[in-house]
Amino acid sequence: MTAAAPHAGPETAKSPPGPPGSPPAPPGNQLRRTLTRALPVSPALVLLVLFLAGPIAYCAYIAFTDLQLTGQAESSFVGFENFRKAFQDEAFLNAVWLTLVFTVLSSLVGQNTLGLALAALMQRASKPVRTLVGGIVITAWVLPEVVAGFLLYAFFRREGTLNAILDWLHLPSQNWLFTLPILAVSFANVWRGTAFSMLVYSAALNEIPKEITEAAEVDGASGWRRMWHITLPMIRRSIGTNLMLNTLQTLSVFGLIWVMTRGGPGGKSQTLPLFMYEQAFQNSLIGYGTAVALLLLLVGSAFSLVYMRLLRTEV
C-alpha cells in the first residue's frame, strides 16, 4: 500500500542480533565471515560515502565559511554568520515564504486533493475512461522536468493557450508569468506531480474491502459521508506517506521553475533552491548559498524522519 517502499519483506527482514541456532563460532572466524559477507556492499558503500555523505558533510562545513567563487584565495571560518545574515535578508525570507506557498498550494492542496479526487472517481468510472485519463495524467508525470516546464511556459505565457481560452470565454486575461508567477509554477507542479498521488490513492482505495462501503451504501450513507467517515480514516496511512513524499519532492523542485520564470520577475517565484543557486553562482557567495542549502537539507531531513515514523517499516 505504501508509496515509496513496497515492502515485500518476509521474515528475512527481521533480524535478531547474531547468527541464530548455530553454535558460537570463534571470534576471529566470525569477524572474517561478517567481513566476507559484507564485501558485496562495499562498492555501493564507497559510492555513497564519497559522493553523497561526503558532499553532505562538506555542505555542513562550508556553510560556516565565507567561501566565494572569485577574488578570494582562502576562505575562513565565520561561525553562524551566514545563518544570521540569512535571517536578516529579506530576499531569503521572501524565498522561505514562497517555498511555503509553493509547497502548500501545489503539494498539500493541489496534488494531494486532485490525486485523491481522481482516484475516487476512477473507482466508479468505466474502464475506457479510467485508462484514458490515467494515461494522460501519467504522461505528464513521466515527461522530463524541462519539457514539462516548456509546456506550461507555453500554456501560461501572455500569448499562450490559457489566455486564448479566457479571451474566447470573454474573461479578462493577463500575463500570468508576470503577475502571478508563483501561482503559475504551483499549477505547473500540480500538473506534473498529481499522477503520483493518484497512483498512491488508487492502490489504497483498491485495498478497502468492498463489503464495507457497500454496507454503508445500503444503509443510505451519501457519497460524501462515506468518503469522510469510512474511506478517509481507512486510508489515513497512505495520506500521511503521500503528503510527506509530495512535500519532499516539492521542496527540491528546481528545473520546472527555472525554465518557466528563472525565479522572477524580481524574485516573485524564487523558492529556496533558486535562491540558493542565485546566491552561490550569480552572486558568487558559495558559503552563503550553502548555508541556505543546509537549512533546506535540515527541513528535508525532518520530513524524511517523520516519513520513516509513518511508514513504521519493519526493516
Binding site: 558485496p40 556492499v41 562550508i62 522530463p144 527540491s252 550553502t290 542549502a293
Partner: protein
Amino acid sequence: MALTLTSRRKRHKLAADAGLLVVAAAFCLPLAWVVLSAVDPDANLQVKAPDGLTFDNFDAILTQDITFTPLLNSLILCGGATLLTVVCAALAAYPLSRFRSRLNRPFLLTILFATSLPITAIMVPVYALFVQVDLIDTMQGTIFFFAASQLPFAIWLMKNFMDGVPKELEEAAWTDGASSFQSLIRIVLPLMGPGVSVVTVFSFVMMWGNFFVPFMLLLTPDQMPAAVSINEFFGNRGTVVYGQLAAFSIVYSTPVILLYVLVARRLGGGFALGGAVKG
C-alpha cells in the same frame, strides 16, 4: 431497493466519467500543444490546429549539433550511471536480504532516510567539492554522482524484490558447492528479472529527466545532455522557433515514455508506486 441502487450506480458512473474527462481535457492542453506544434509549419505558443502538416521541424532539429550529440551524451551519462547503480545495488542488496547481521537494520534505516533527502539542496556543495577534486565538467564525475544519488532507492527497491525470492533454491545450490556470488548471478537475479528491470528502467528514467545535476556539474557545451541543451532553443538562437522546440521535446521525451509503458505493462501499477520517491 436493489433497483434504485443499480440505477444510482449507473448515474454515479456517468458522473464520474464526465468529471474525469473534464480533468483529462485540462491535463491534455499542454500535451496537445507539443504534439500539434511539432507538425505545424507556423507554430506559436497556443494550442491550435496546425496550418498544414509538415515534418520540417523534425528535419531542422535532427542534426548532429542539436539532437544527436545531446542525446548521445544523455545516453552515456544515464546509461553509465544506471549500469553502475544496478550493479552496486544488486551486490549490496544480496547480503542485506540473505544474511542476518546486526548491521542490517541501521544500514537499511540510513538508506531509507537517504531515499527522501532533497538532493537539490546539496548541488552547490557538490559543485564546490568537484572543483576541488577536479571532477567538475567530467562525464565520469557526473556519472558517479548520479549513481550515488540514485543508489539509496535502488538498494531499497532491490532488497525488497530480492526478499521475494525463496531462499530454499539457493540453499540447494550451496549444498552443491556454489558460492554466494554464483548463486546470486545464476539463481537469484534471473528469478527476480522483473524486479531488476524495474530498478533499471526507473533509475534511467529519473536521470534522463534530471536537469539540475548536469546543469551544475557539466560546463562544456559538447558534453551537455538533452536535459540541458534544450535550453539552447531560448538562448543564443534569437527568436524561438516553437515548432522546433516542440519537435525536440518529443524526440527527447519519447524514450522515457516508451520505457515506462514497457515496464508498467509488465508489472501493473506496482512499478509506478514503487518508483516515485524522487519525482
